[in-house]
Amino acid sequence: MEHIRTTKVEQVKLLDRFSTSNKSVTGTLYLTATHLLFIDSSQKETWILHHHIAAVEKLPLTTSGCPLVIQCKNFRIVHFVVPRERDCHDIYNSLLQLSKTAKYEELYAFSYNPKQNESEQVKGWQLIDLAEEYKRMGVPNAYWQLSDANRDYKICETYPRELYVPRTASKPIIVGSSKFRSKGRFPVLSYYHKNKEAAICRCSQPLSGFSARCLEDEHMLQAISKANPSNRYMYVMDTRPKLNAMANRAAGKGYENEDNYSNIRFQFVGIENIHVMRSSLQKLLEVSGTRGLSVNDFLSGLENSGWLRHIKAVVDAAVFLVKAIAMESASVLVHCSDGWDRTSQVCSLGALLLDSYYRTIKGFMVLIEKDWISFGHKFSDRCCQLDGDPKEISPVFTQFLECVWNLTEQFPQAFEYNEVFLLQIHEHVHSCQFGNFLGNCEKEREELKVKEKTYSLWPFLLAEQKKYRNPLYNPDFLPELTLLEPNTVSFNFKFWRNMYHQFDRSMHPRQSVLNLIMNLSEQNKQLEEDIKELEAKIKQRNGQSDVVLVKEHQQSAHPAPVALKTPPCFKKEQPPIPGNDAVRTIEGSNTADNRYSELVSEFSKAEPAVVSLEYGVARMTC
């Protein structure tokens, strides 16, 4: 690569962000075309994908070298000290170039080769089939049909080709309505609740200004309410704060006038816009990244960032939506400004609360494909895949994952997937390693030929789904299509430490309950399977040669030991926790990692007779 001037620097120090002053490991830094790699003296490797780099900063030269701080989109922060300024400068410049991509074709996904053949690649992309998903919901049916109006992206460039609309919405109504909606994003079906016969629909804001009307748009909404035989009233949820929506009227946009639309109930729910969310996250990261915080600094910083307030607002909006559907059997039309940020959050979270399918691993993939990818959430702009307008960056999808995480904390048995799954998806939304999240809409992805040139993330996640399973998942937790009713009192929303400090090991519990339970449940399943297998064998054996077994049976006064002496099913249980040492390792439980040690270490420095603090890491394997 032409951007790489130095490919290898030795004697680089990697500082730990949160532990005692200047604790570090020394190793070698490598730059490849796609990654930055650091291998420390104990051969531990730290890989950082160039696409994950959000910012690189060169700090003033110190006596030990030139510090280089790299901030990643997955909230990892690495702090290197490079001995020679010249090397540091080269790496800095290379990373600046490498982390910013001008063209989609240069993204990692287009060079990533997981050694799959073509048919596997095609099959991978076919894993999630949205037509199949709408069928599962129960559409098309007597009220809803597949429309071919957008087959060539003529009506709306940022929508998918296949859209579901009320049967009574004719093409002229669709075309008219789309002309009255921002970016042509007219009302379409997002989720259909077959028991309630109610729908979640989504769109963008109407171009109503102060007084404009559009008969086709009014007909469109009427068609949606008529498509629901259980309740002729429908809700229109504007997910913006009222003030923002009003301000939009001056620009010829705005919101629905209740007088012009029959049978609608209009409601604002007050989720802030992408700019507020971006600066909120910025503030949150400033607080969480500060060393030596007091509890009160942390809590007031958390409060001032507003981050948890925004998370709560999104969940509250979703709860409002699902109550309309579950309690009143009313259909709901959701929009914000363009209908691809807050609308995606609220529609997808609403569906997740209504339908347990989306709480399974496969179902969650479908949900993201449907409400985020196909409906044109601008992943490229929001996650800064290409070097573009920094004002377009916003953690809207991260917030969605965080809302889901909060729900998994409240309902530990309702989700088939665990936190690791959410973190992994977050990782790949930013990695640009797979084609799913590239670009801003389906049309763009088709033009990029992602299905031919890149791979889909989902088959890879599915292949390693063992890692992502919630061992406490109970599929019978709630019968299908029963509402998950979260409690949204403020204290239920917690700071997501495992997201924002995923790479700061010293901050996490030193023993992981999730890992232990996962192993236990895996082991139990294995035992069950072994038993079944043995029982089957016994059956077979009994069927084949009764005589032999009876003979054995007679020889032994106590038949039980026959099975117990050589219990093949027991061979797996020698280590009570199989294989994985890390599960029980209390790594990082070390005074040097925690700042309460600083005072004493100062004291010890003054008097060298005292044993050094580098006492080793408390390790326990079982």
């Binding site: 509890v295 009160n296 809590l299 406490l472 996490h508 439980s589």
Partner: protein, 488 residues
């Protein structure tokens, strides 16, 4: 004094009891010397059996001919009683107030409680004091009260010699003073003070101020108040959580205990911990440091021994400190939730090291409840001398005897426990310190899903344990022993 004098009305019919998260019950209310009972009308099954000592604050509101009494309990539960009849309501309220503020130890329920399943002497003598040595190294942890240096900088040869003999020549020790340097200096005016370096040359003094007394009690009350208001916006909630300062106190206590533990484990030095009296923050630090350092304090029996040694026998004045909980409107005297702060810190350890403590949250909750209102004598009085004067050990049951019955013990154990011989160094970053929802929101947050998940964890562990394997073995051997079983 007779209890009957304090009870103005003993029974009222048709009382409606409501409690957050539970359906309301109507029934007959009955007040006895130590309990408030409510039995629902038709079946007469008792619906509520509340120790009156558990009542922290009584609020009454009269509307027309009936009244509502709100009982705020020391375990942070809140109950409402709707009582027909104004006079009955006032009588009941004043009876509860009078009974709950009986301060004489020997009038308390433990002296009357005689469960058939327990013997009086059981559980009282299982923890001899000499049992404990710091065996990790040759170093020891000591605790004391402040030296009485006073304004004239008095010295005491014997005290200097005592501390001197603990250390070998050339050895150093740490004194961790739980007051700020300034507060320690000021204590000289009232006859207290600190060890001057000149008189104790081998000792290095570290000041780690910990909150105590009234500010700590107020912190507790503020936190509970914030937790009881579900209508708070996110910003208000975080603001009130912050201004209560409770989590700061948790962090400070953990950090200081870690410092003490580190002095011993990493510096291999002897440590002396003291504050002013040596009965509050001192115990918080020494007890916590032992949980961190010593695996034997992390077993169910070991933890009880630690409490007995470091809190009860060491003279933490439970009677004074736990006289009122977070709701009381009474003028505060010497209340301070140091013991609760200790339990909270242990809970934080259990969250960071979920396999390293043999007991679970239930034990900690039960200890909190019993420290503030109990049927057992374990937490009565302020020190051993008072306990012996009141004949606590002869006339009341020990909480340990109850908790150690196999069926109770089963509920207290942590199913994930596995012995960990190592020191457990917790993270004290604010991001790692959590609000103990199980205690502060026990009666407020819906916990059904969490309880079920916990039961599932328990089931998975049990299934994985030996008995389960035996039973699977049995299943196999059964199919083997009955050769015709599979054929048909």
């Amino acid at each position: 004094m007779e209890f009957s004098e304090l009870i103005k009305t003993a029974t009222v019919e048709n009382v409606l009891l409501s409690c957050a998260g539970l359906p309301a019950v109507r029934g007959t209310l009955c007040i006895t010397s130590h309990h408030l009972l409510l039995s629902s009308c038709p079946g007469g099954d008792v619906e509520l059996w509340l120790l009156i000592r558990n009542v922290d604050a009584v609020e009454k509101r009269l509307t027309g001919s009936s009244g509502t009494i709100t009982l705020r309990c020391k375990d942070l539960k809140v109950l409402q009683l709707e009582i027909p009849g104004m006079e009955e309501c006032l009588n009941i309220a004043s009876s509860i107030e009078a009974l709950s503020s009986v301060d004489s130890v020997m009038m308390m329920y433990p002296f009357f409680y005689r469960p058939p399943s327990l013997k009086l002497e059981e559980g009282w003598h299982q923890f001899p004091l000499e049992q404990y040595f710091q065996q990790i190294s040759s170093q020891v942890m000591l605790r004391s009260s402040q030296p009485l240096t006073g304004p004239n900088r008095r010295r005491c040869r014997e005290d200097e010699t005592l501390l001197g003999t603990i250390l070998d020549e050339g050895e150093r020790g740490f004194i961790i003073d739980t007051r700020s340097a300034q507060a320690a200096k000021q204590a000289r005016m009232t006859g207290g003070g600190t060890e001057p370096k000149s008189s104790y040359p081998q000792w290095r003094r570290l000041h780690r101020p910990l909150e105590r007394g009234r500010p700590l009690q107020e912190s507790f009350a503020k936190l509970v108040e914030a937790c009881s208001d579900p209508s708070l916006s996110m910003d208000r909630w975080l603001g009130r959580l912050e201004s209560s300062r409770w989590l700061s106190h948790v962090k400070a206590a953990l950090s200081t205990a870690c410092l003490a533990a580190q002095c011993m484990d990493r510096e291999e030095a002897t440590v002396l911990v003291h504050g002013a009296e040596g009965t509050d923050t001192t115990l918080l630090v020494t007890a916590l440091a032992q949980v961190i350092l010593d695996p034997s304090c992390r077993t169910l029996a070991g933890f009880q021994g630690l409490l007995e040694r470091e809190w009860i026998q060491a003279g933490h004045p439970f009677h004074l400190r736990c006289a009122h909980s977070a709701y009381s409107h009474a003028r505060l005297k010497q209340e301070a939730p140091l013991f609760l702060l200790f339990l909270d810190c242990v809970w934080q350890l259990s969250r960071q090291f979920p396999f390293s403590l043999e007991f679970g949250e239930r034990l900690l909750l039960s200890l909190f409840d019993n420290a503030y209102a109990s049927a057992y004598g374990t937490f009565l009085c302020n020190n051993e001398k008072e306990r012996s004067l009141c004949k606590v050990k002869e006339s009341t049951h020990s909480l340990w005897a109850w908790l150690n019955r196999p069926e109770e013990q089963q509920k207290l154990l942590n199913p994930l426990y596995s012995h960990n011989a190592l020191v457990i160094w917790p993270s004290v970053e604010p991001q790692s310190i959590q609000l103990w929802q199980g205690l502060f929101l026990r009666w407020i947050r819906p916990s059904q899903h969490l309880d079920e998940a916990w039961a599932e964890i328990q089931r998975l562990v049990e299934e994985n344990n030996a008995p389960a394997k035996e039973s699977t073995g049995n299943r196999l051997s059964q199919s083997l022993s009955d050769p015709t079983a599979g054929v048909s």
